[in-house]
């Protein structure tokens, strides 16, 4: 059975995969697919900790998976005379290369372009007349995919193929953190970009290909922060309400608004992780910001956010965010264990946020 577990930030997603590997019976042959290099390294070391030297579980990156199990064994069935010699991460094919041309997918040294890899893999699968799947089904019984929210474009077509196989596909992810699926040249499934990929999964569920469960307990953020994160998204998306299981306390906790002239003092007082929407914004404050993309995956005590226009609107009247903005601020908010502060002019409305006062200088 294929399943998608939608887990809130701080729900220990990776731990879930590690435990599933540990508890699998020894007849299962498991492939764990990581979407980023960092998560691949983490999964490898954590699985090695619970299953030392076990040949039962293998961890592969998403690209390595497509190259090794789709493209390499059967490429000549799609493009006779061609053989895979490597991977071209940076390069792009000539614009004129059409879908039927090998040049669209392979550089002159027979290395597969990263930007068209999923599409190539899907084409090879079709040309193989079932061989790709039959081979995979003999090698593995289960596939776990971490960070499922980052799968988009042609990669979703690969998922469809896997769903229809004998393999049990287990996806773990959080659509609210979908920031990465930005292959500008991959227009496949474009209505399902970013957080809308949830719609795609819901459609698969409606067709009986997949079962969706939600894991709504955060072990990181306080309930106040969890509630804020829930309100960022439109209720019609039907995400389960987040429950905080955090038992940690901190003298500085809750939601704060910091007026522009106090930013430096706030940073001085609480050392928050300061996050802006993109590079260049907020330079005038003279503090160090990181972007949402970089902040992803981190856990800190305090977060300081530089709002965008849409986020200010949300603060004012609760209008849910959409698209990349929603994901970005969801990631931003859920980094924090104890407090979330926003930089906001005193003239603007944000009822739930307590104005932060700089400690009075005793001198």
């Amino acid at each position: 059975m294929n399943e998608l577990t939608i887990a809130v930030a701080g729900a220990r997603k990776t731990q879930g995969i590690v435990e599933a590997c540990r508890d699998a019976d020894d007849q299962r042959r498991i492939l764990v697919i990581a979407y980023t290099q960092a998560s691949q390294a983490e999964l490898e070391s954590r699985i090695a900790d619970v299953l030392p030297l076990s040949p039962q579980v293998e961890v592969l990156g998403w690209y390595a998976f497509l190259l090794r199990h789709f493209v390499s064994p059967y490429l000549p069935l799609l493009f006779p005379g061609h053989s895979l010699r490597g991977f071209n991460y940076e390069g792009e094919p000539h614009r004129a290369a059409r879908d039927v041309d090998a040049a669209r997918f392979l550089d002159p040294e027979e290395r597969a372009y990263q930007c068209n890899l999923a599409s190539l893999a899907h084409k090879v699968h079709e040309a193989s007349d079932g061989s790709v799947l039959d081979r995979l089904e003999h090698i593995y019984t289960d596939i776990y995919i971490d960070e499922a929210q980052d799968i988009g474009g042609w990669a979703l077509e690969i998922l469809k193929v896997l769903f229809a196989s004998k393999l049990d596909v287990h996806l773990v992810g959080d659509m609210r953190q979908a920031l990465l699926s930005t292959n500008p040249r991959d227009n496949k499934n474009s209505p399902y970009r970013f957080e809308k990929v949830l719609t795609w999964y819901r459609e698969r569920e409606a067709q009986g290909q997949l079962k969706i469960t939600q894991k709504a307990t955060t072990h990181r953020s306080s309930q106040v922060i969890a509630d804020l994160s829930d309100r960022l998204f439109d209720p019609s998306l039907k995400y389960a309400a987040t429950i905080s299981a955090s038992t940690e306390t901190h003298f500085h906790h809750g939601l704060y608004r910091v007026s522009p002239q106090n930013v430096a003092a706030y940073v001085e007082a609480h050392a928050p992780l300061s996050i802006h929407y993109r590079a260049g914004l907020g330079d005038e404050f003279g503090i160090t910001f990181t972007t949402f993309g970089v902040a992803k995956g981190r856990t800190v005590d305090h977060v300081l956010l530089l709002p965008t226009e849409k986020f200010r609107q949300f603060l004012k009247d609760g209008t849910p965010l959409v698209g990349k903005t929603a994901c970005a601020f969801y990631i931003g908010v859920t980094r924090a264990k104890h407090s979330v502060a926003v930089i906001l002019d005193p003239s603007l409305v944000a009822d739930e946020f307590t104005p932060w006062k700089a400690p009075t200088d005793p001198a």
């Binding site: 042959r29 090794r68 390499s72 064994p73 000549p76 069935l77 005379g81 061989s131 090698i139 593995y140």
Partner: protein, 541 residues
Amino acid sequence: MIERIIIENYRKFRRLEIEPNSGMNILVGDNETGKSTVLEAINLALTGRINGRWAGDEKNPFWFHQPAVAEFFEKFGTKHQVGPPAIQIELYFTADTDDPDMHRLRGVINSRSEAGTKTDCPGVRLRIQPSDDFKSEFAEYMKDGPAGILPTEYYECLWTNFDGHSLSRRPKALGSAFIDSKTLRSSTGIDYHTRQILDAFLDDKERVKVAIEHRKSRHSLTLGVLADVSKKMGDDGVDLHDDALSLAMDQSSRAAWESDVVPQVSDIPFGMSGQGQQAAVKVALAMHRSSERARYVLIEEPETHQSHTSLKRLLVRIDALAGSEQQVFVSTHSSYVLNRLGLDSLLLLGSSGAVQLTDLTPDTVKYFQHLSGYDTLRLVLGRRLVLVEGPSDEMVFKRCFKDETGADTDDAGIDVVSMSGITFKRALELCALLDREVVALQDNDGSDVADIVGDPELAKHLSETRHMYVGDKSHGHTLEPQLIDANGVDRMREVLKLRTQDDPTTWMPNHKTEAALRILASDETIHFPDYIVQAVHILNE
């Protein structure tokens, strides 16, 4: 299980394609047809090694098929030039397996698929081909290099799966054992192949246990006796500047258990035991039930150095274990080995490829197993065969052939084989499957010629190239009366140099071989029965 073997430009073979049997395979051929080469090639593709060393490090110009090399050099620079020869050895395994490790080797990156026949199966491929990195050097070499010798330093060795991935070590699923006919003459250690066999014999747990205990025992030597010696060195002031000098057992990988543990036969180390024993030990280890890691067993000429009884025991063992677990390839010169292991497992190598006897009736296979002393290889290897009843028929036929054609049968490339109890029907069945040119000469023993030759079980094996001649019963029932009938009693007496009181009619049947010898050596003109003369003429056409 290996379903197909393709060898290209390797030693004897321009191209050889074999579809081996799932259990036993017996490689048979004339000298120099490449029996051992096939075993070597299979082992090379399975292990990437030759004599224990990486093929890539050992590249040798003489591995290449010499006619291909000659053609390349001859035509180079002409308008008919061809590319430099490249060696390719491919093993195609059955895709019908549940072993996930086999499916990891699966794909269509193989020469059959490249030629347009989609062949999606597990497999390994070893290629030795000109390296793209050295194209210009190769071109330079061709300008003034020693013609006829390939510059293998400009070649690369690629060892890949059918999924296109390079292999750096033997895949887990391809355990094999190579039992070569070379024997070790050394008081210590064992050779690479034997080590591999030994390694496959142990399961993972046993291997670890041996390794740990071996390390411990070395370490305890260091802590024990050697510590005392080291102390003495210190006391005697055998110091190196200010650092203390001591002795310890080597714990590096060179000192791993594999190099210290050797098989013993009746308390005699492997390297010191008899040549026959060594082969027997290797077979016993490789074909033990627990040797599941050795799924492919290659045995070179098991008859070498074996007495008849020990060979018999060895073959029983080989035969019992070949099958579902292990696929076995045996090369042999011995009819006995061939008969015992089953004629249906034969892979006959010739210049044009390999011939198999898969259509042989089980009945006939058993028949030859029981008569395992029979020299079946003469039937198998002979180009043009004359089958006769016994040794006297053989000599008489040879004399007749010489008289009629002026040549010896040997010089004419004709092998005259005595049936020695094998029935013509069985022998002809074998010859028919091998498409041999045959003339059979049989006694009528009182039957009508038409009844003998017309027997449907026998007649179905006869053809344009396979004839049977039988003397008419009116001229006598066997060879001797037929000879007397052709020459007359008096003339026969002269030929045989008998005394006048001796009657050839009674003397000959009692002295068949002696009579035949005298005929063969006789200076007299001899008349031969028609059926023998006809046989000579059909051969001479």
